[in-house]
Protein backbone atom coordinates (compact mmCIF):
# COMPACT_ATOMS: atom_id res chain seq x y z
CA UNK A 1 0.00 0.00 0.00
CA UNK A 2 1.53 3.32 -0.96
CA UNK A 3 1.53 6.05 1.61
CA UNK A 4 3.78 8.69 2.99
CA UNK A 5 3.90 9.87 6.51
CA UNK A 6 5.70 12.85 7.95
CA UNK A 7 9.42 12.30 8.22
CA UNK A 8 10.03 12.73 11.96
CA UNK A 9 13.59 14.10 11.72
CA UNK A 10 13.31 16.42 8.74
CA UNK A 11 12.68 19.52 10.88
CA UNK A 12 15.77 18.71 12.96
CA UNK A 13 17.89 18.54 9.80
CA UNK A 14 16.43 21.85 8.62
CA UNK A 15 17.11 23.54 11.96
CA UNK A 16 20.75 22.41 12.12
CA UNK A 17 21.22 23.37 8.46
CA UNK A 18 19.93 26.88 9.16
CA UNK A 19 22.36 27.23 12.08
CA UNK A 20 25.27 26.40 9.74
CA UNK A 21 24.04 28.89 7.16
CA UNK A 22 24.05 31.60 9.82
CA UNK A 23 27.52 30.56 11.03
CA UNK A 24 28.94 30.49 7.50
CA UNK A 25 27.57 33.89 6.49
CA UNK A 26 28.58 35.29 9.89
CA UNK A 27 32.18 34.15 9.34
CA UNK A 28 32.28 35.76 5.90
CA UNK A 29 30.82 39.00 7.22
CA UNK A 30 33.52 38.91 9.92
CA UNK A 31 36.23 38.64 7.25
CA UNK A 32 37.04 34.92 7.47
CA UNK A 33 38.04 32.86 4.42
CA UNK A 34 37.88 33.95 0.77
CA UNK A 35 38.24 36.75 -0.36
CA UNK A 36 40.14 37.67 2.81
CA UNK A 37 42.28 34.53 2.36
CA UNK A 38 43.20 32.56 -0.77
CA UNK A 39 40.72 30.29 -2.52
CA UNK A 40 42.67 27.22 -1.39
CA UNK A 41 43.59 28.60 2.05
CA UNK A 42 42.57 26.29 4.93
CA UNK A 43 40.25 29.00 6.29
CA UNK A 44 38.36 29.06 2.97
CA UNK A 45 38.15 25.27 2.98
CA UNK A 46 36.73 25.30 6.52
CA UNK A 47 34.15 27.91 5.50
CA UNK A 48 33.25 26.17 2.23
CA UNK A 49 32.58 22.88 4.01
CA UNK A 50 30.53 24.48 6.79
CA UNK A 51 28.28 25.82 4.04
CA UNK A 52 28.36 22.93 1.57
CA UNK A 53 27.93 20.14 4.13
CA UNK A 54 26.41 21.92 7.13
CA UNK A 55 23.90 24.02 5.28
CA UNK A 56 23.31 22.62 1.80
CA UNK A 57 24.08 18.96 2.55
CA UNK A 58 21.92 18.68 5.66
CA UNK A 59 19.13 20.69 4.04
CA UNK A 60 19.11 18.31 1.07
CA UNK A 61 19.26 15.11 3.13
CA UNK A 62 16.50 16.39 5.44
CA UNK A 63 14.34 17.28 2.45
CA UNK A 64 14.98 13.94 0.70
CA UNK A 65 14.02 11.95 3.81
CA UNK A 66 10.59 13.49 3.40
CA UNK A 67 10.53 13.80 -0.34
CA UNK A 68 11.84 10.51 -1.74
CA UNK A 69 8.92 8.51 -0.26
CA UNK A 70 6.53 11.08 -1.74
CA UNK A 71 8.25 10.82 -5.11
CA UNK A 72 7.84 7.08 -5.49
CA UNK A 73 4.88 6.49 -3.12
CA UNK A 74 6.78 4.01 -0.98
CA UNK A 75 7.87 4.17 2.65
CA UNK A 76 11.40 5.22 3.57
CA UNK A 77 13.80 2.33 4.18
CA UNK A 78 15.73 2.26 7.47
CA UNK A 79 14.25 5.59 8.57
CA UNK A 80 15.36 4.94 12.14
CA UNK A 81 18.92 5.76 11.04
CA UNK A 82 18.01 9.42 10.45
CA UNK A 83 19.09 10.76 13.88
CA UNK A 84 22.39 8.82 13.81
CA UNK A 85 23.13 10.13 10.33
CA UNK A 86 22.53 13.69 11.54
CA UNK A 87 24.91 13.25 14.49
CA UNK A 88 27.57 11.60 12.33
CA UNK A 89 27.49 14.36 9.73
CA UNK A 90 27.50 17.20 12.27
CA UNK A 91 30.29 15.56 14.30
CA UNK A 92 32.32 14.83 11.18
CA UNK A 93 31.84 18.36 9.86
CA UNK A 94 32.96 19.99 13.12
CA UNK A 95 36.10 17.81 13.17
CA UNK A 96 36.77 18.59 9.52
CA UNK A 97 36.36 22.34 10.04
CA UNK A 98 38.56 22.15 13.16
CA UNK A 99 41.22 20.27 11.20
CA UNK A 100 41.20 22.89 8.44
CA UNK A 101 41.39 25.69 11.01
CA UNK A 102 44.41 23.94 12.55
CA UNK A 103 46.09 23.77 9.13
CA UNK A 104 45.45 27.48 8.81
CA UNK A 105 47.56 28.28 11.83
CA UNK A 106 45.06 27.86 14.62
CA UNK A 107 46.96 24.76 15.74
CA UNK A 108 47.28 24.50 19.50
CA UNK A 109 44.23 26.68 19.88
CA UNK A 110 41.52 24.81 21.78
CA UNK A 111 43.24 21.54 20.97
CA UNK A 112 42.67 21.80 17.20
CA UNK A 113 44.89 19.59 15.10
CA UNK A 114 45.13 18.49 11.47
CA UNK A 115 44.72 14.95 12.82
CA UNK A 116 41.02 15.79 13.14
CA UNK A 117 40.68 15.77 9.34
CA UNK A 118 40.73 12.00 8.72
CA UNK A 119 38.53 11.32 11.74
CA UNK A 120 36.06 13.93 10.50
CA UNK A 121 36.21 12.46 7.02
CA UNK A 122 35.54 9.00 8.43
CA UNK A 123 32.42 10.21 10.25
CA UNK A 124 31.27 12.09 7.14
CA UNK A 125 31.78 9.07 4.89
CA UNK A 126 29.81 6.96 7.36
CA UNK A 127 27.04 9.52 7.80
CA UNK A 128 26.56 10.40 4.14
CA UNK A 129 27.10 6.76 3.18
CA UNK A 130 24.24 5.68 5.44
CA UNK A 131 22.05 8.51 4.17
CA UNK A 132 22.76 7.57 0.55
CA UNK A 133 22.06 3.91 1.36
CA UNK A 134 18.70 4.72 3.01
CA UNK A 135 17.58 6.88 0.12
CA UNK A 136 18.96 4.67 -2.64
CA UNK A 137 17.39 1.51 -1.21
CA UNK A 138 14.09 3.37 -0.95
CA UNK A 139 14.37 4.42 -4.60
CA UNK A 140 15.22 0.86 -5.63
CA UNK A 141 12.07 -0.42 -3.94
CA UNK A 142 9.96 1.46 -6.50
CA UNK A 143 8.53 -0.47 -9.40
CA UNK A 144 9.53 2.19 -11.89
CA UNK A 145 11.55 5.33 -11.34
CA UNK A 146 9.90 8.52 -12.59
CA UNK A 147 12.30 11.06 -14.08
CA UNK A 148 12.62 13.23 -10.91
CA UNK A 149 13.61 10.10 -8.96
CA UNK A 150 16.28 9.29 -11.52
CA UNK A 151 17.76 12.75 -11.00
CA UNK A 152 17.84 12.09 -7.25
CA UNK A 153 19.44 8.67 -7.78
CA UNK A 154 22.24 10.09 -9.89
CA UNK A 155 22.65 12.90 -7.37
CA UNK A 156 23.22 10.29 -4.66
CA UNK A 157 25.87 8.62 -6.82
CA UNK A 158 27.60 11.98 -7.23
CA UNK A 159 27.38 12.50 -3.45
CA UNK A 160 29.15 9.19 -2.91
CA UNK A 161 31.92 10.10 -5.36
CA UNK A 162 32.30 13.54 -3.77
CA UNK A 163 32.73 12.25 -0.22
CA UNK A 164 35.13 9.49 -1.26
CA UNK A 165 37.38 11.99 -3.07
CA UNK A 166 37.09 14.32 -0.08
CA UNK A 167 38.10 11.53 2.28
CA UNK A 168 41.19 10.87 0.15
CA UNK A 169 42.07 14.58 0.39
CA UNK A 170 41.69 14.49 4.17
CA UNK A 171 43.97 11.46 4.44
CA UNK A 172 46.74 13.20 2.48
CA UNK A 173 46.34 16.62 4.13
CA UNK A 174 46.62 15.18 7.62
CA UNK A 175 49.73 13.22 6.67
CA UNK A 176 48.39 9.84 7.71
CA UNK A 177 48.73 8.56 4.16
CA UNK A 178 51.86 9.23 2.12
CA UNK A 179 50.84 8.13 -1.34
CA UNK A 180 52.05 9.83 -4.50
CA UNK A 181 48.89 8.80 -6.23
CA UNK A 182 46.62 10.47 -3.65
CA UNK A 183 48.92 13.51 -3.49
CA UNK A 184 48.41 13.91 -7.25
CA UNK A 185 44.69 13.71 -6.68
CA UNK A 186 44.90 16.41 -4.00
CA UNK A 187 46.96 18.70 -6.24
CA UNK A 188 44.66 18.46 -9.24
CA UNK A 189 41.39 16.96 -8.07
CA UNK A 190 39.78 19.88 -6.24
CA UNK A 191 37.77 21.16 -9.25
CA UNK A 192 36.36 17.65 -9.73
CA UNK A 193 35.43 17.35 -6.06
CA UNK A 194 33.66 20.72 -6.24
CA UNK A 195 31.96 19.95 -9.56
CA UNK A 196 30.65 16.60 -8.33
CA UNK A 197 29.46 18.10 -5.05
CA UNK A 198 27.88 21.38 -6.17
CA UNK A 199 26.96 20.38 -9.72
CA UNK A 200 26.29 16.66 -9.36
CA UNK A 201 24.95 16.03 -5.91
CA UNK A 202 23.31 19.33 -4.99
CA UNK A 203 22.23 20.73 -8.36
CA UNK A 204 21.16 17.51 -10.03
CA UNK A 205 19.10 16.51 -7.01
CA UNK A 206 17.59 19.99 -6.74
CA UNK A 207 16.59 19.90 -10.43
CA UNK A 208 14.95 16.51 -9.92
CA UNK A 209 13.01 17.70 -6.89
CA UNK A 210 11.95 20.88 -8.71
CA UNK A 211 10.48 18.81 -11.55
CA UNK A 212 8.01 17.37 -9.07
CA UNK A 213 7.36 20.34 -6.79
CA UNK A 214 6.88 23.08 -9.39
CA UNK A 215 4.05 21.39 -11.34
CA UNK A 216 2.45 20.47 -8.02
CA UNK A 217 2.38 23.99 -6.65
CA UNK A 218 1.69 25.78 -9.94
CA UNK A 219 -0.84 23.20 -11.15
CA UNK A 220 1.09 22.64 -14.35
CA UNK A 221 0.92 19.40 -16.32
CA UNK A 222 3.34 16.84 -14.93
CA UNK A 223 4.19 15.22 -18.25
CA UNK A 224 7.87 14.61 -18.97
CA UNK A 225 8.86 16.95 -21.78
CA UNK A 226 11.50 16.40 -24.41
CA UNK A 227 13.46 19.23 -22.79
CA UNK A 228 13.42 17.41 -19.44
CA UNK A 229 14.78 14.29 -21.12
CA UNK A 230 17.52 16.39 -22.72
CA UNK A 231 18.38 17.86 -19.30
CA UNK A 232 18.63 14.33 -17.94
CA UNK A 233 20.81 12.93 -20.72
CA UNK A 234 23.17 15.88 -21.08
CA UNK A 235 23.45 16.35 -17.31
CA UNK A 236 24.03 12.65 -16.67
CA UNK A 237 26.65 12.48 -19.41
CA UNK A 238 28.40 15.53 -17.97
CA UNK A 239 28.51 13.89 -14.54
CA UNK A 240 29.83 10.59 -15.85
CA UNK A 241 32.52 12.48 -17.80
CA UNK A 242 33.57 14.41 -14.68
CA UNK A 243 33.78 11.19 -12.69
CA UNK A 244 35.76 9.52 -15.48
CA UNK A 245 38.13 12.51 -15.68
CA UNK A 246 39.07 11.90 -12.05
CA UNK A 247 40.75 8.67 -13.16
CA UNK A 248 42.59 10.59 -15.90
CA UNK A 249 44.11 12.84 -13.20
CA UNK A 250 46.40 9.96 -12.23
CA UNK A 251 47.64 9.57 -15.79
CA UNK A 252 47.90 13.13 -16.99
CA UNK A 253 46.65 15.93 -14.77
CA UNK A 254 46.75 18.60 -17.48
CA UNK A 255 44.76 16.42 -19.87
CA UNK A 256 42.17 15.85 -17.15
CA UNK A 257 41.71 19.61 -16.74
CA UNK A 258 41.28 20.01 -20.50
CA UNK A 259 38.69 17.24 -20.41
CA UNK A 260 36.60 19.34 -18.00
CA UNK A 261 35.71 21.63 -20.91
CA UNK A 262 33.31 19.04 -22.36
CA UNK A 263 31.18 18.51 -19.23
CA UNK A 264 31.03 22.28 -18.89
CA UNK A 265 29.55 22.56 -22.38
CA UNK A 266 27.10 19.75 -21.56
CA UNK A 267 26.16 21.45 -18.27
CA UNK A 268 25.52 24.63 -20.24
CA UNK A 269 23.22 22.73 -22.61
CA UNK A 270 21.46 21.00 -19.69
CA UNK A 271 20.86 24.27 -17.85
CA UNK A 272 19.62 25.96 -21.04
CA UNK A 273 17.05 23.23 -21.66
CA UNK A 274 16.11 23.26 -17.97
CA UNK A 275 15.42 26.99 -18.14
CA UNK A 276 13.37 26.57 -21.33
CA UNK A 277 11.36 23.90 -19.52
CA UNK A 278 10.89 26.12 -16.48
CA UNK A 279 9.46 28.86 -18.68
CA UNK A 280 7.12 26.30 -20.30
CA UNK A 281 5.96 25.08 -16.86
CA UNK A 282 5.27 28.65 -15.82
CA UNK A 283 3.29 29.36 -19.01
CA UNK A 284 1.26 26.14 -18.76
CA UNK A 285 0.34 26.59 -15.13
CA UNK A 286 -3.34 26.66 -14.22
CA UNK A 287 -2.78 28.63 -11.06
CA UNK A 288 -2.71 32.23 -12.22
CA UNK A 289 -1.35 33.89 -9.08
CA UNK A 290 1.71 32.01 -7.90
CA UNK A 291 2.87 32.00 -4.32
CA UNK A 292 6.05 33.57 -2.99
CA UNK A 293 7.95 30.27 -2.86
CA UNK A 294 7.54 29.94 -6.64
CA UNK A 295 8.59 33.52 -7.33
CA UNK A 296 11.63 33.12 -5.07
CA UNK A 297 12.48 29.82 -6.80
CA UNK A 298 12.44 31.51 -10.21
CA UNK A 299 14.93 34.09 -8.90
CA UNK A 300 17.18 31.13 -8.02
CA UNK A 301 16.75 29.72 -11.55
CA UNK A 302 17.82 33.09 -12.96
CA UNK A 303 20.94 32.95 -10.76
CA UNK A 304 21.68 29.43 -12.03
CA UNK A 305 21.42 30.54 -15.64
CA UNK A 306 23.55 33.64 -15.01
CA UNK A 307 26.25 31.65 -13.20
CA UNK A 308 26.46 28.97 -15.88
CA UNK A 309 26.45 31.48 -18.78
CA UNK A 310 29.13 33.65 -17.16
CA UNK A 311 31.35 30.69 -16.31
CA UNK A 312 31.13 29.50 -19.92
CA UNK A 313 32.51 32.81 -21.24
CA UNK A 314 36.32 32.83 -20.83
CA UNK A 315 36.47 36.60 -20.19
CA UNK A 316 33.95 36.62 -17.35
CA UNK A 317 35.35 33.39 -15.95
CA UNK A 318 38.79 35.02 -15.75
CA UNK A 319 37.33 38.18 -14.21
CA UNK A 320 35.61 36.13 -11.49
CA UNK A 321 38.89 35.70 -9.62
CA UNK A 322 40.82 32.64 -8.51
CA UNK A 323 38.90 29.48 -9.37
CA UNK A 324 36.04 31.65 -10.73
CA UNK A 325 35.22 32.33 -7.07
CA UNK A 326 32.69 35.09 -7.74
CA UNK A 327 30.67 32.74 -9.96
CA UNK A 328 30.94 29.85 -7.52
CA UNK A 329 29.55 32.28 -4.93
CA UNK A 330 26.64 33.18 -7.23
CA UNK A 331 26.02 29.47 -7.85
CA UNK A 332 26.09 28.53 -4.15
CA UNK A 333 24.08 31.48 -2.81
CA UNK A 334 21.94 32.64 -5.75
CA UNK A 335 20.99 29.22 -7.08
CA UNK A 336 21.39 26.53 -4.38
CA UNK A 337 20.79 28.60 -1.25
CA UNK A 338 18.13 30.73 -2.92
CA UNK A 339 16.20 27.66 -4.04
CA UNK A 340 16.73 26.03 -0.64
CA UNK A 341 15.29 29.03 1.24
CA UNK A 342 12.41 29.34 -1.23
CA UNK A 343 11.45 25.68 -0.81
CA UNK A 344 11.89 25.80 2.99
CA UNK A 345 9.42 28.65 2.97
CA UNK A 346 6.82 26.28 1.46
CA UNK A 347 7.81 22.94 2.99
CA UNK A 348 8.05 24.03 6.63
CA UNK A 349 4.54 25.54 6.78
CA UNK A 350 3.14 22.62 4.75
CA UNK A 351 4.59 19.94 7.03
CA UNK A 352 3.65 21.94 10.12
CA UNK A 353 0.09 22.27 8.85
CA UNK A 354 -0.12 18.54 8.17
CA UNK A 355 1.34 17.69 11.55
CA UNK A 356 -1.02 19.99 13.48
CA UNK A 357 -4.25 19.85 11.49
CA UNK A 358 -4.04 16.45 9.75
CA UNK A 359 -5.93 14.62 12.50
CA UNK A 360 -8.84 17.08 12.53
CA UNK A 361 -9.12 17.83 8.81
CA UNK A 362 -12.69 17.74 7.60
CA UNK A 363 -14.13 17.70 11.11
CA UNK A 364 -13.74 21.34 11.99
CA UNK A 365 -12.65 24.37 10.00
CA UNK A 366 -8.89 24.61 9.92
CA UNK A 367 -6.61 27.37 8.64
CA UNK A 368 -5.14 27.09 5.16
CA UNK A 369 -1.41 26.42 4.74
CA UNK A 370 -0.85 30.00 3.62
CA UNK A 371 -2.47 31.26 6.83
CA UNK A 372 0.62 30.04 8.67
CA UNK A 373 2.87 32.56 6.95
CA UNK A 374 2.98 36.25 6.21
CA UNK A 375 3.97 36.66 2.57
CA UNK A 376 4.38 40.42 2.80
CA UNK A 377 7.22 40.26 5.30
CA UNK A 378 8.86 37.26 3.66
CA UNK A 379 8.64 39.00 0.28
CA UNK A 380 10.78 41.80 1.71
CA UNK A 381 13.36 39.35 3.07
CA UNK A 382 13.61 37.45 -0.22
CA UNK A 383 14.03 40.76 -2.07
CA UNK A 384 16.80 41.78 0.33
CA UNK A 385 18.40 38.36 0.05
CA UNK A 386 18.68 38.28 -3.73
CA UNK A 387 19.73 41.95 -3.83
CA UNK A 388 22.49 41.18 -1.33
CA UNK A 389 23.67 38.10 -3.26
CA UNK A 390 23.88 40.20 -6.42
CA UNK A 391 25.84 42.90 -4.57
CA UNK A 392 28.19 40.35 -2.97
CA UNK A 393 28.87 38.73 -6.35
CA UNK A 394 29.54 42.13 -7.91
CA UNK A 395 31.89 43.00 -5.02
CA UNK A 396 33.86 39.82 -5.65
CA UNK A 397 34.14 40.72 -9.34
CA UNK A 398 35.32 44.19 -8.38
CA UNK A 399 37.64 42.87 -5.69
CA UNK A 400 36.10 45.24 -3.15
CA UNK A 401 36.42 43.64 0.30
CA UNK A 402 34.52 46.27 2.36
CA UNK A 403 31.48 46.21 0.09
CA UNK A 404 31.57 42.39 0.08
CA UNK A 405 31.33 42.39 3.87
CA UNK A 406 28.42 44.82 3.85
CA UNK A 407 26.62 42.72 1.21
CA UNK A 408 27.15 39.47 3.15
CA UNK A 409 25.90 41.18 6.32
CA UNK A 410 22.72 42.16 4.45
CA UNK A 411 22.43 38.61 3.14
CA UNK A 412 22.77 37.31 6.71
CA UNK A 413 20.10 39.73 7.93
CA UNK A 414 17.72 38.55 5.19
CA UNK A 415 18.38 34.90 6.05
CA UNK A 416 17.72 35.57 9.73
CA UNK A 417 14.51 37.35 8.79
CA UNK A 418 13.36 34.35 6.77
CA UNK A 419 14.29 31.96 9.57
CA UNK A 420 12.23 34.04 11.99
CA UNK A 421 9.31 33.60 9.56
CA UNK A 422 9.85 29.83 9.60
CA UNK A 423 9.88 29.81 13.41
CA UNK A 424 6.65 31.81 13.41
CA UNK A 425 5.10 29.25 11.06
CA UNK A 426 6.20 26.39 13.34
CA UNK A 427 4.76 28.22 16.35
CA UNK A 428 1.45 28.87 14.52
CA UNK A 429 1.99 32.54 15.42
CA UNK A 430 -0.10 33.87 12.53
CA UNK A 431 -3.07 31.59 13.22
CA UNK A 432 -5.89 33.15 15.19
CA UNK A 433 -7.54 31.01 17.83
CA UNK A 434 -5.29 28.07 17.02
CA UNK A 435 -7.08 25.42 19.06
CA UNK A 436 -4.45 22.75 18.46
CA UNK A 437 -1.33 22.00 20.47
CA UNK A 438 1.71 23.76 19.06
CA UNK A 439 4.28 21.46 17.48
CA UNK A 440 7.82 21.17 18.70
CA UNK A 441 10.08 23.67 17.03
CA UNK A 442 12.66 21.28 15.63
CA UNK A 443 12.61 18.09 17.70
CA UNK A 444 10.94 15.03 16.21
CA UNK A 445 7.19 14.95 15.87
CA UNK A 446 5.27 14.88 19.09
CA UNK A 447 2.46 12.95 17.41
CA UNK A 448 3.46 9.41 16.51
CA UNK A 449 2.96 8.67 12.82
CA UNK A 450 1.82 5.16 12.18
Amino acid sequence: MPDATLSPWTMSYFAVACVFLVIGQGLMAAGYGYPFAGVDAPETLALAHLLAIGWLGLLMIGALLQFVPVLIAAPLRAGRLAPSVLLLIVGGLLLLAGGFAALGGAEGLDGLSPGMLPLGAFLLVTGFGLAAAMLASTLLSARALPLPARFVGLGLAALTATILIGAAFAAVLSGIVASDLLATLLLHGVPFHAALGLGGWLSFTAIGVSYRLLPMFMLAPEKVSGAARTVWWTGATALVLVAASVAVVFLDAEAAKTLLALPLVLAFVAVSFYCVDLVRLYRERKRKVVELNIRASYAAFAALLAAVVLISIPATRAAAGEGAAALVYLFAFGWLTGLGLAQLYKIVPFLTWLECYGPILGRIAVPRVQDLVNEGRANFWFGLYYGAVTAATASLFAGSLPSFRVAVAAQLAATLGLMAELVRARRLSSVKGAGVPKPRLFLPLSRPQE
Binding site: M1, A4, T5, R287, G358, P359, L361, G362, R363, E450
Partner: protein, 177 residues
Protein backbone atom coordinates in the same frame (compact mmCIF):
# COMPACT_ATOMS: atom_id res chain seq x y z
CA UNK B 1 -7.14 2.91 -43.18
CA UNK B 2 -7.34 1.24 -39.77
CA UNK B 3 -9.73 3.10 -37.55
CA UNK B 4 -8.08 4.54 -34.48
CA UNK B 5 -9.67 3.12 -31.36
CA UNK B 6 -11.51 5.51 -29.07
CA UNK B 7 -10.39 9.08 -29.54
CA UNK B 8 -6.66 8.66 -29.09
CA UNK B 9 -4.14 10.75 -30.91
CA UNK B 10 -2.32 9.00 -33.78
CA UNK B 11 1.08 10.01 -35.14
CA UNK B 12 2.06 8.94 -38.62
CA UNK B 13 5.40 7.87 -40.03
CA UNK B 14 6.08 6.82 -43.61
CA UNK B 15 9.37 4.93 -43.91
CA UNK B 16 8.95 4.15 -47.61
CA UNK B 17 11.04 7.18 -48.72
CA UNK B 18 13.83 6.23 -46.32
CA UNK B 19 13.93 2.67 -47.64
CA UNK B 20 13.71 3.65 -51.29
CA UNK B 21 16.75 5.88 -50.84
CA UNK B 22 18.64 2.97 -49.32
CA UNK B 23 18.40 4.17 -45.69
CA UNK B 24 17.74 2.23 -42.52
CA UNK B 25 14.46 3.30 -40.93
CA UNK B 26 14.77 1.61 -37.53
CA UNK B 27 16.28 4.60 -35.77
CA UNK B 28 13.71 7.00 -37.21
CA UNK B 29 10.92 4.71 -36.03
CA UNK B 30 12.36 4.45 -32.51
CA UNK B 31 12.76 8.22 -32.31
CA UNK B 32 9.10 8.72 -33.10
CA UNK B 33 8.09 5.98 -30.67
CA UNK B 34 10.16 7.56 -27.88
CA UNK B 35 8.51 10.90 -28.53
CA UNK B 36 4.96 9.51 -28.25
CA UNK B 37 2.95 10.90 -25.39
CA UNK B 38 1.38 8.37 -23.04
CA UNK B 39 -1.66 6.90 -24.77
CA UNK B 40 -0.66 8.03 -28.27
CA UNK B 41 -0.66 5.58 -31.17
CA UNK B 42 1.59 5.32 -34.24
CA UNK B 43 0.53 4.62 -37.81
CA UNK B 44 3.42 3.30 -39.88
CA UNK B 45 3.65 2.90 -43.67
CA UNK B 46 6.23 0.46 -45.05
CA UNK B 47 6.84 -1.30 -48.38
CA UNK B 48 6.72 -4.71 -46.65
CA UNK B 49 5.18 -6.29 -43.56
CA UNK B 50 7.58 -5.17 -40.82
CA UNK B 51 7.49 -8.43 -38.91
CA UNK B 52 10.58 -7.89 -36.68
CA UNK B 53 9.19 -4.57 -35.51
CA UNK B 54 6.11 -6.18 -33.97
CA UNK B 55 8.14 -7.87 -31.27
CA UNK B 56 10.14 -4.73 -30.50
CA UNK B 57 6.93 -2.72 -30.19
CA UNK B 58 5.24 -5.37 -28.07
CA UNK B 59 8.19 -5.07 -25.69
CA UNK B 60 7.42 -1.38 -25.46
CA UNK B 61 3.78 -2.04 -24.67
CA UNK B 62 2.16 -1.63 -28.11
CA UNK B 63 -0.32 -3.88 -29.88
CA UNK B 64 -0.26 -3.92 -33.68
CA UNK B 65 -2.77 -4.25 -36.45
CA UNK B 66 -1.25 -4.70 -39.93
CA UNK B 67 -2.95 -4.66 -43.32
CA UNK B 68 -1.83 -4.57 -46.88
CA UNK B 69 -2.68 -1.46 -48.84
CA UNK B 70 -2.51 -0.68 -52.52
CA UNK B 71 0.78 -1.29 -54.32
CA UNK B 72 1.74 -4.11 -51.96
CA UNK B 73 2.66 -1.64 -49.22
CA UNK B 74 1.68 -2.15 -45.61
CA UNK B 75 0.01 0.02 -43.04
CA UNK B 76 0.44 -0.85 -39.38
CA UNK B 77 -1.33 0.78 -36.50
CA UNK B 78 0.53 0.46 -33.20
CA UNK B 79 -1.71 1.21 -30.25
CA UNK B 80 -0.64 1.36 -26.62
CA UNK B 81 -1.85 -1.65 -24.67
CA UNK B 82 -4.38 -0.64 -22.04
CA UNK B 83 -2.02 -0.19 -19.14
CA UNK B 84 -4.14 1.23 -16.39
CA UNK B 85 -1.85 1.38 -13.43
CA UNK B 86 -2.41 -1.36 -10.89
CA UNK B 87 -5.16 -0.59 -8.44
CA UNK B 88 -3.83 0.41 -5.04
CA UNK B 89 -5.86 -0.68 -2.05
CA UNK B 90 -5.87 0.11 1.61
CA UNK B 91 -4.89 -2.95 3.64
CA UNK B 92 -8.44 -3.59 4.81
CA UNK B 93 -10.20 -2.95 1.49
CA UNK B 94 -11.68 -6.29 0.43
CA UNK B 95 -13.43 -6.69 -2.90
CA UNK B 96 -13.92 -3.05 -3.86
CA UNK B 97 -16.00 -4.27 -6.82
CA UNK B 98 -18.74 -5.18 -4.33
CA UNK B 99 -18.85 -1.65 -2.89
CA UNK B 100 -22.05 0.31 -3.51
CA UNK B 101 -22.12 3.05 -6.14
CA UNK B 102 -20.64 6.33 -4.95
CA UNK B 103 -23.09 8.80 -3.46
CA UNK B 104 -20.74 11.70 -3.99
CA UNK B 105 -18.43 12.62 -6.88
CA UNK B 106 -15.66 15.17 -6.46
CA UNK B 107 -13.56 16.64 -9.27
CA UNK B 108 -10.48 17.95 -7.50
CA UNK B 109 -8.13 18.11 -10.48
CA UNK B 110 -7.96 21.89 -10.43
CA UNK B 111 -6.91 22.18 -6.79
CA UNK B 112 -3.36 22.46 -5.51
CA UNK B 113 -2.29 20.32 -2.57
CA UNK B 114 -3.34 19.99 0.17
CA UNK B 115 -6.86 21.16 -0.79
CA UNK B 116 -7.93 17.85 -2.39
CA UNK B 117 -7.07 16.05 0.83
CA UNK B 118 -9.13 18.49 2.90
CA UNK B 119 -12.12 18.14 0.57
CA UNK B 120 -12.06 14.33 0.58
CA UNK B 121 -11.74 14.09 4.36
CA UNK B 122 -14.54 16.63 4.83
CA UNK B 123 -16.78 14.74 2.39
CA UNK B 124 -16.06 11.47 4.19
CA UNK B 125 -17.22 13.06 7.44
CA UNK B 126 -20.59 13.87 5.86
CA UNK B 127 -21.27 10.33 4.64
CA UNK B 128 -22.79 7.43 6.56
CA UNK B 129 -20.68 4.37 7.34
CA UNK B 130 -20.59 2.04 4.32
CA UNK B 131 -21.28 4.82 1.81
CA UNK B 132 -18.76 5.44 -0.95
CA UNK B 133 -17.37 8.61 -2.47
CA UNK B 134 -15.45 8.98 -5.70
CA UNK B 135 -12.82 11.63 -6.34
CA UNK B 136 -10.68 12.59 -9.31
CA UNK B 137 -7.29 14.17 -8.58
CA UNK B 138 -4.36 15.34 -10.64
CA UNK B 139 -1.84 13.35 -8.57
CA UNK B 140 -1.63 10.48 -6.14
CA UNK B 141 -2.70 11.80 -2.72
CA UNK B 142 -0.15 9.93 -0.66
CA UNK B 143 -0.49 12.04 2.47
CA UNK B 144 -4.21 11.30 2.40
CA UNK B 145 -3.84 7.51 2.54
CA UNK B 146 -2.53 7.20 6.13
CA UNK B 147 -5.15 9.72 7.30
CA UNK B 148 -7.96 7.66 5.71
CA UNK B 149 -6.60 4.50 7.30
CA UNK B 150 -6.37 6.13 10.72
CA UNK B 151 -10.02 7.12 10.49
CA UNK B 152 -11.07 3.60 9.56
CA UNK B 153 -11.99 4.40 5.94
CA UNK B 154 -11.16 1.99 3.13
CA UNK B 155 -9.94 3.14 -0.26
CA UNK B 156 -9.09 1.88 -3.70
CA UNK B 157 -7.49 3.99 -6.41
CA UNK B 158 -5.25 4.11 -9.46
CA UNK B 159 -3.97 6.34 -12.22
CA UNK B 160 -5.76 6.53 -15.53
CA UNK B 161 -4.03 5.32 -18.68
CA UNK B 162 -2.30 8.61 -19.36
CA UNK B 163 -1.18 8.90 -15.73
CA UNK B 164 -2.54 12.43 -15.60
CA UNK B 165 -5.44 11.75 -13.26
CA UNK B 166 -5.72 9.64 -10.13
CA UNK B 167 -9.10 8.05 -9.37
CA UNK B 168 -10.02 7.04 -5.87
CA UNK B 169 -13.00 5.38 -4.21
CA UNK B 170 -13.32 5.85 -0.45
CA UNK B 171 -15.69 3.70 1.60
CA UNK B 172 -16.50 5.34 4.88
CA UNK B 173 -15.72 3.16 7.87
CA UNK B 174 -17.49 2.73 11.15
CA UNK B 175 -14.61 3.59 13.42
CA UNK B 176 -14.46 7.36 13.71
CA UNK B 177 -11.13 7.36 15.57
Amino acid sequence: MNPAPRDINVRELDVRPILSSGGEPFQAIMEVVSALEPGEALRLYAPFRPQPLFKVMAGRGFDHEAREIEGGDWEVLFTPQPTSAAVELSDDAEDPETWPDPVEHLDLTELDPPKPMVRILAAAERLEPGEVLFALLSREPIFLFPELTKRGHQWAGNFDETRTAFRIFVRVGKARG
